[in-house]
């Protein structure tokens, strides 16, 4: 009986450990919703970054094959839109997320050839703590909604 209870406790502990939020996500950083809008010679990638750890992280750079990628942010000053480079990176709060989206933070992609990536633009996001994280950004149509 005691062996049975001990085994049951170990099993229960194992199940509880596996059901913690970080273990369920499987990764400290999760990238989702990526989409690439590539005009001739210039484009943007938008995505969401979830930080599942207890420590703040920072997206420091992004790589894409055959292209130069920079971190940028659009800032509105009245009717004037400013396009500001953010080489210092984007902070992702602990147990939090940031969204790169139209009119805000985004990845500027120069020189990517959409025809070379029909299945989506492969990306490697480099984080200060989490290191390299891969993602693929499907190509969005240039038609608007």
């Amino acid at each position: 009986m005691r062996r049975f209870l001990a085994a049951l406790s170990v099993a229960a502990g194992f199940v509880l450990a596996c059901s913690s939020p970080r273990a369920e996500g499987g990764a400290p950083i999760v990238v989702s919703g990526a989409v690439a809008r590539l005009a001739p010679g210039m484009g943007a990638v938008y995505l969401t970054i979830q930080n599942n750890t207890e420590t703040e992280d920072r997206l420091v750079s992004v790589e894409a094959p055959g292209a130069m990628v920079e971190l940028h942010e659009t800032v509105a000053k009245g009717e004037v839109m400013q396009m500001i480079a953010r080489p210092e990176g984007f902070v992702v709060p602990a147990q939090g997320s940031i969204a790169l989206q139209e009119g805000g933070k985004h990845l500027m992609v120069m020189g990517a050839d959409p025809a070379a990536h029909p299945g989506g633009l492969p990306l490697t996001l480099v984080f200060a703590r989490a290191g390299r994280v891969s993602a693929t950004a499907p190509l969005a149509s240039l038609g608007g909604k």
Partner: protein, 200 residues
Amino acid sequence: MWTRWIVPWIVSICLFGCRGSFHGVLVDPPVEATEITATLPDGEAFSLQQHKGKVIILTFGYTYCPDVCPTTLSRLRGLFSALGEKASDLVVVYVSVDPDRDTPERLGEYVSAFDSRIFPISLQGEALEAVKKGYGIVSLKRMPDLSKYPASKKSAITHYAVDHTSGFHVVDKSGKLRLRIPYEATVEETKADILQLLAE
């Protein structure tokens, strides 16, 4: 007794109706739209005044812009779709605020990737400045702050951004600048404003 409410209701309805229901900001009073003449990428001549009788949207941007300008151009393509048959009464003009890089050919290739109905206008020097002044457009080169880049990357950073006035500047069928629609307006809101002007 209920009659005491008639006048306030009539005033409220009149204020709403008289102001119209534009999402954009009215140019008050309307001003004659500044003429724009240019050579298109195919060598044809463009004149804004030749399109009098149609509603004209002017917007300003540049091709090295990753976010605002593609978003704007995508919305314009969506607007053409949303207008259906009435799209033939709309003229859209995209003026580059980056004369150093946006040659007519480059601008034409870029704009046509979104919608070939949009006129790409590449101007230089005083001609561009006159158009910017006529429509109240601000644009400013933003050079990269190289102090923020690691030494290994400094030499690779040669591009600059251009901060610029966003949104749509709308000319009515009589050739008057009537409306400024902000960048934040949705395609449906823009469509509603354009339909009002088309109905005049």
